[in-house]
């Protein structure tokens, strides 16, 4: 029996734990929280007022009974001695370790950011913060609601855009689309990092009167005169604002330090998820330096790859993305991989339905990944074929 210690029971770690056959692996998941949070739920909480409980479930219930769950915080990972230390003094040895602790959000990097977060809430830091943002938006009857980005590498690349569309929908439903201006500011040259996708999104932003600012990397927040100042030297005034913070890799100590890159992310082979320099250590999800979108899809696909590799199968992750972008009633997916930029896609009701279906089956997919694997596999293979043929969808 091989001992596998998985750090983090989120969208990557929990799936991996449940995929590993119990006959071959003794699996332990370490997570500081007893609850598993469906992070995309922040959008529904912040912009539709859905109660956070809908997106929170006890991790113990989501992990298969044979998986050990240690509710504790990781403080040190010693890759050379194969040991993990926790805050409460536990020491876990392993045959394989998998980093799946996600990215850390730094609200202290930008001057004024923490105060901004505490004043209005946001839809990135926590479900409680998302609830606060919803209350703030409900109290907004006029003025400018600004969504800005401090660093172009953040989880869920379409997050700010979904925030813009969904907040517009919220104001629109309250009859305030002429009174409240939704402003979206992004660091890149067009509405979305990929021009192909930007060309599809921009008309939708224009049609709704959402103000778009490009080349805007939020750098400083002044709450007294209510302005966000960018690296590029521009200013945006706001009445309510939320800024997606710089992200970093895990802050707990990892020995050797060299496995972390300049932003603290765990350096991996982008195809196999193997930690650079080690045969018995892997990393999946937002905590890695993989050159692809930080998203649940990435974590899920990497979890499948690591599960296969631990069983001796040469599985590889293609860098495949499938980021959903939703507006009122329609949706699209950003479909790309390491070797192909995003394919042209159209907004459609069908894609929105697919996304709704995915959200509805999330808990089942975590608990019984082996049941949903064939469905996801068929979907990814079909859409991979579209990528290979250079087709749109």
């Amino acid at each position: 029996m091989k001992r596998v210690v998985i750090l983090g029971g989120g969208g990557g770690g929990a799936i991996l734990a449940n995929l590993l056959p119990r006959e071959e692996f003794q699996v332990t998941v370490v997570d500081k929280s007893p609850l598993h949070f469906f992070q995309p739920g922040n959008l529904w909480i912040a912009f539709k007022g859905v109660k956070k409980e809908k997106f929170l479930r006890p991790l113990r219930e989501l992990l298969k009974p044979h998986v050990d769950f240690v509710q504790d915080e990781v403080v040190e990972v010693d890759l050379q001695n194969r040991s993990v230390k926790t805050k409460n003094g536990k020491q876990l040895g392993y045959d394989y370790v998998v980093f799946a602790t996600g990215a850390e959000l730094d609200y202290d990097a930008l001057p004024g950011h923490r105060k901004l977060l505490e004043t209005y809430g946001d839809f990135y830091s926590s479900p409680e913060s998302a609830e606060k943002l919803y209350k703030t938006l409900l109290g907004m009857n006029s003025g400018r609601f600004v969504i800005a980005v401090a660093d172009p590498i953040y989880k869920c690349p379409p997050g700010p855009h979904k925030g813009a569309f969904l907040s517009w929908e919220l104001f629109s439903k309250r009859g305030l689309s002429n009174k409240v201006k939704v402003v979206l500011a992004v660091p890149v040259p067009h509405a979305y990092p990929s021009k192909t996708i930007a060309d599809i999104i921009e008309p939708e932003l224009n049609a709704r009167g959402i103000e778009l600012h490009t080349f805007f990397t939020a750098n400083e927040i002044n709450l007294d005169n209510k302005k966000i100042i960018s690296l590029e030297g521009e200013e945006l005034s706001f009445d309510v604002a939320t800024v997606i913070p710089p992200h970093r890799g895990p802050s707990y100590m990892v020995t050797p330090e060299s496995v972390k890159d300049g932003n603290g992310y765990i350096k991996i082979d982008k195809y196999t998820s193997k930690v650079e320099g080690f045969d018995d250590a892997f990393a999946i999800g937002d905590c890695t330096n993989a050159p692809t979108s930080k998203s649940g899809v990435t974590a899920h696909l990497q979890a499948e790859v690591v599960a296969a590799r631990l069983q001796g199968i040469d599985a590889r992750y293609s860098g495949r993305t499938n980021c959903p972008l939703i507006t009122d009633g329609k949706g699209l997916f950003v479909i790309s991989d390491y070797d192909h930029p995003p394919i042209p896609v159209r907004f459609s009701k069908f894609k929105r339905l697919m996304e709704d279906l995915f959200v509805a089956t999330y808990w089942s997919a975590i608990r019984y990944p082996e049941f949903w694997s064939p469905v996801f596999k068929a979907y990814f293979e079909a859409t991979d074929e579209m990528i290979r043929k250079g087709e749109g969808w």
């Binding site: 009701k349 069908f350 064939p374 596999k377 068929a378 979907y379 293979e381 079909a382 969808w393």
Partner: protein
Amino acid sequence: METILTKERREALEKLLDMLVKMNELGLLDTIRDLLDPEFIGRLSELLMTPGTLKLLDHIDDLLDLAGSIDVEAIKGNMPLIKAALEALSREPKPVGITGLMRAMSDPDVQKGLGLMVELLKAIGKTKTK
């Protein structure tokens, strides 16, 4: 337990259980259980999730609107025509020159067909003049 099983819930639960008994007798519960097999689900998914079906399904709302806008009663009678046309297309035709065309035009079937083509051309032309 008394508070959980209200009178309405007890009634609903009894009906549900009776339904399950019936399904079990019919062997349906066994069927459902057997269908919940990763291999079967995999094959079904492969069938339904191809680039072709995904592209088709992406337009399902438009396709349904289009299908709904067609006057089915009007075209029902013409199905044999469409069938005949599609089947004729599959036969390798011999190339026909001017003299061949003249000769063909004395064939009553071809004449009827030509009359139909004129109606077709008129109908198409009308949509352009609107």
